[in-house]
C-alpha cells in the first residue's frame, strides 16, 4: 500500500532556538549548520552571498530561514566522505542582521554536471508559508554557462534575472534578494 506524504506545516515564528541556535545566541544546543559554510582551508574561491527576503508588500522579512545546498569547487556534491570538511550545506535566519539579511560565507561551486551552470540550491522557509519553496542562485558573471543551463532555459527569459546573484562592491561578494511577489518576483521551482 502506498503511504501518503506527511503534510508540510509552516516553520512558524519561533524556529531559531531549534534550527539556528548558534546564530541567535542560544547555547543549550549547538548548530548543525550556519551561514559559515567554508573556512580558510576549504579549497575554492571565496563566495559571500548576501540578500534579503521581501514579502508581498515589499517589506523585508525578519523571520525567514534560508538553506543552501551546493557542490564543492570541483562540482561534486559532498557525500559525507570528503576530507576537505566542506559539508555543502548552510542555514541562516534573517533575524540577527540589522537589515534582515541572510549571509553565507562559502565557496564558488563548480559545474555539477548534466550541462548545468554553477549554482546554489535554495530552500526558503518562514512563518506564513505552509510549505517551503525551492529556488536556485546562479552567478551573473557566468554568462556563458548560464546561457546553456538546462534549468534556466525552462524559465521565461524575462524572469531569468531573478535567479542571478550580482557581484557586489567587494571582491567575492554577491547579492541575491528574494521577492515573494510583484514585478521582480523570484522564480520558484517545483522539483
Amino acid at each position: 500500500m502506498r503511504r501518503r506524504q506527511t503534510p508540510s506545516q509552516t516553520v512558524g515564528p519561533f524556529f531559531a532556538f531549534g534550527l539556528t541556535p548558534g546564530q541567535y545566541g542560544y547555547s543549550a544546543l549547538s548548530s548543525i549548520a550556519d551561514g559559515t559554510m567554508a573556512g580558510p582551508d576549504t579549497p575554492g574561491r571565496r563566495l559571500r552571498l548576501e540578500g534579503r527576503v521581501f514579502d508581498a508588500g515589499g517589506e523585508t522579512v525578519p523571520d525567514a530561514m534560508v538553506e543552501i545546498w551546493q557542490a564543492d569547487a570541483t562540482g561534486r556534491y559532498p557525500d559525507g566522505r570528503s576530507n576537505t570538511g566542506f559539508a555543502g550545506f548552510g542555514r541562516c535566519g534573517t533575524g540577527t542582521d540589522p537589515e534582515h539579511r541572510f549571509v553565507f560565507e562559502t565557496i564558488r561551486p563548480g559545474p555539477p554536471g548534466d550541462g548545468q551552470a554553477p549554482h546554489l540550491n535554495v530552500i526558503l522557509f518562514m512563518r506564513g508559508m505552509p510549505r517551503h519553496a525551492f529556488t536556485r542562485i546562479y552567478l551573473a558573471d557566468e554568462a556563458e554557462a548560464n546561457a546553456s543551463d538546462p534549468v534556466l532555459s525552462t524559465v521565461p527569459p524575462e524572469r531569468r534575472g531573478t535567479l542571478l546573484a550580482a557581484p557586489g562592491s567587494r571582491d567575492g561578494v554577491y547579492l541575491f534578494d528574494i521577492h515573494l511577489r510583484g514585478e521582480r518576483e523570484t522564480v520558484f521551482f517545483e522539483p
Binding site: R4, P7, A56, W69, P112, G128, R136, V151, F189, P191
Partner: protein, 240 residues
Amino acid sequence: MSDTSSRDLPGYAPFDPETQPNWVVPDYHSSASRSPGRPAIPLVQTLSELTGPVYGHGAVQPLDHDLTRNGVTDGAPLGERIIVTGQVLDEDGRAQPDTLIEIWQCNSAGRYIHTADRHDAPTDPNFFGGGRCVTDEQGRYRFITIKPAAYPWGNHPNAWRPAHIHFSLFGPAFVTRLVTQSYFPGDPLLAHDPIYMGTPVPFRDLLVMDYDPEVTEEGFALGYRFDIVLRGRRATPLED
C-alpha cells in the same frame, strides 16, 4: 564534474497535492503576503536535487533527544513527561535510516524560550524545548520531552494554537526535506486552527500523533507514536 549522472539516481515523487497544503491558506492570514504569487516552475530533478546534506550520528550529542534533561539548570522541567517515537518512511513504506530529525516546542505553560515570544506565561528554567536525533537502521526515532501547551497567537480574535511539536527532517535528498508539526489526539483546538485545517481533508489526520500504550512506560511517561512519510521514488523511470 561529478562521476555520476542524474540518470543513475532515482527521481523522487512530487509534492502530493492531495496531502500538501497550498502556499496560500486563506484563513491563515499571513500566508497571503508571504507566499509566492506565481506557480512554481516544474524542474527535472538533477544531481542538485537528488543529493542532499549528510548529518549522521556524529551531528548529535548524547542528550539531544531528551528534552527533559538537555535544558536543565537546577532540577527537572515542570509538566507532563511524554515519549514521542515513530518511524520515518517513504511513500513505498521503505524505512529512512540515518536521517536527521530536529524538533522544537513550547513548554508546559505554552511559552517558547525564543526571545520573540511575548505570551504572558512562565518560562521554565529547566526546559529549553529544542532537540534532535538521527533515525536508526529501521528509520526509527525517539524523543523524551514535556507535553507542550496551547498558546495564543494573533491570526484572528481569541486564536489559540493547539499543542504541537515542530519537526524538521532531511531525508535522503534535498527534495525530501520536510518541516511539519505534530499534534495531540482529541485536541478540541484542532478544528479551530487554520494551520492544521489548511491541510486537505482527509489527510490532516496524518499530523496527529497516536496515543500508544505500548510506548507508554509504567510510572514514567505517556507514549505517543508519530510516523513520518517523506516523498518516495517516482513510479516511472526517470526520463532525460
